[in-house]
């Protein structure tokens, strides 16, 4: 299975937040959703860190040149 994009992960996260704010999450699924949200947050953070380090590498290359 292909890794989800940052945008689709963010969309899913946003949907969970919206559902929770509206009280639309069934209690049975509450823990599941919370765990899913934590997983999505971690995924997005990792993506951002990878992008940050890529940008820094580009900086370093330019400074060398």
């Amino acid at each position: 299975m292909k890794a989800p994009s940052y945008e689709s992960a963010m969309q899913e996260l946003q949907r969970i937040v919206d559902d929770m704010q509206e009280g639309a999450v069934p209690i049975d699924e509450l823990a599941l959703k919370a765990a899913k949200a934590a997983e999505l947050i971690a995924f997005c953070r990792n993506k951002l860190r990878a992008i940050e380090s890529e940008i820094q590498q580009i900086d370093a290359q330019e400074n060398e040149g």
Binding site: Y6, M10, L13, I16, V17, M20, Q21, G23, V25, I27, L30, K33, A34, A37, A38, I41, C44, R45, L48, I51, E52, I55, I58, D59, E62
Partner: protein, 408 residues
């Protein structure tokens, strides 16, 4: 009536003339024809009608060798210029009549100021006519093409200066290829005007084959240039579709053709030099243009480079900013999610409590309807074991309440 012999008559005429015209006198006329024989000049002097198409007077003039030498010492080359066919002259002559050779005018002196003054007047008249016809500035208003490479040359193949002109062009130090086409014309003598007018006409038929036209010849007598002052020649020259250059080799006054031409120079080689310099100027302009283009291109490249660097920086900053924004968004979600989950749980708890209360009240109603009662003392439900005599009890039925007092 007395009859004379021819000799007697002529001898008589001679004596009458000698008596009445003994002294030399000044006379004006035009030299129609002149020849040199054994050092003496013989010429036909004429006067034309005001319209110029008919002779009204004609006499023979003679300039003896001894007299010529004396005048030549006084006047120099000017004398030779004056002794030219078609020239109007003022002469000091002694009228001579010979029984056998007839009437002759022996020339003792010649007045150059008359001839040159007359030429000057004629020139002024021609200039005035050209100006009023709008022709005087016409050729001068043409511009030279950027490069002069195809030249129509008006001269005589044998003219002094023609070979110099060709050699000068051929040997130019820059290696410019310049082609010349000879339009053969007389550059001295009576044919000059007619030749040049005809040749200019031929040129105008194929002017697109050439860049400029040049009229050149080596040095010559001053009066010999008179043809270049003529009206018809200058009309043709002014209307020449190509810029005209002259190098007709004169030291003194310019001819009218020099004034009409786009550019007048002293000699054929000066004309050649001008053409070479003109082309050199073009080449230099090309080099300068090339340098300017190169410099401009460098400036543009530097600008584009600078813009790219700026753009890259902006993009990088934008990307970094976006990452920060996303981090903040994640921070926010991380902070709010547990609270949201807790609130959801609290809501569920509240809901449960409400349901419990509802269930309790519903079960009491059911019992009452079946006939059970609820007995309370001071607002609280009591059991039989707790009841004592004298207690006031409230009994609740399905359809109402009663108060009672315990007896025992």
């Amino acid at each position: 009536m007395h009859t004379y012999s021819l000799y007697d008559l002529n001898e008589y005429i001679r004596r009458v003339l000698a008596l009445n015209l003994g002294d030399a006198l000044w006379v004006t006329g035009e030299i129609a024809q002149i020849g040199l024989s054994r050092g003496h000049y013989y010429m036909d002097l004429v006067q034309k009608s005001p319209e110029g198409d008919e002779l009204v007077a004609q006499s023979q003039g003679v300039l003896w060798q001894a007299q010529y030498r004396q005048l030549r010492r006084q006047m120099g080359l000017t004398l030779d210029e004056l002794l030219t066919e078609g020239i109007s002259v003022r002469l000091k002559v002694k009228v001579d009549f010979h029984e056998r050779f007839g009437l002759k005018l022996f020339i003792e002196d010649i007045d150059p100021t008359y001839t040159f003054g007359l030429l000057h007047q004629q020139r002024q008249e021609v200039i005035r006519k050209l100006q009023s016809a709008g022709l005087f500035e016409k050729n001068a208003s043409l511009t030279f093409p950027p490069v002069i490479q195809r030249i129509a040359v008006f001269t005589s193949a044998t003219a002094a200066g023609y070979q110099d002109f060709l050699a000068h062009l051929r040997n130019n130090p820059y290696g410019y290829a310049i082609s010349t086409t000879l339009f053969e014309v007389a550059v001295q003598g009576a044919q000059v005007e007619a030749d040049i007018v005809a040749a200019l006409h031929r040129l105008s038929m194929r002017s697109q084959d050439f860049d400029v036209a040049v009229v050149i010849r080596g040095g010559g007598a001053r009066t010999d240039l008179a043809a270049f002052d003529q009206y018809a020649l200058n009309v043709a020259a002014a209307q020449c579709p190509l810029p005209l250059l002259t190098g007709i080799g004169h030291e003194t006054d310019a001819t009218i053709l020099d004034l009409v031409a786009a550019l007048s120079l002293k000699t054929p080689t000066a004309v050649a030099d001008f053409i070479i310099q003109h082309n050199l100027q073009f080449e230099q302009n090309l080099l300068i243009a090339g340098q300017i283009i190169q410099k401009q291109a460098q400036v543009h490249l530097r600008d584009a480079d600078r813009r790219l660097v700026l753009l890259a920086q902006q993009l990088k900053l934008g990307a970094k900013h976006e990452v920060i924004v996303q981090h903040r968004l994640l921070d926010y979600i991380t902070q709010t999610l547990p609270a949201l989950a807790r609130r959801r749980l609290q809501d569920a708890d509240l809901q449960l409590a409400q349901l419990e209360r509802l269930r309790q009240s519903l079960s009491a109603e059911t019992a009452l309807r079946r006939g059970f009662t609820i007995t309370t003392r001071e607002g609280r439900a009591v059991r039989a074991a707790e009841v004592q005599a004298g207690d006031r009890l409230l009994t609740r039925f399905a359809d109402g309440e009663t108060n009672s007092t315990v007896d025992e």
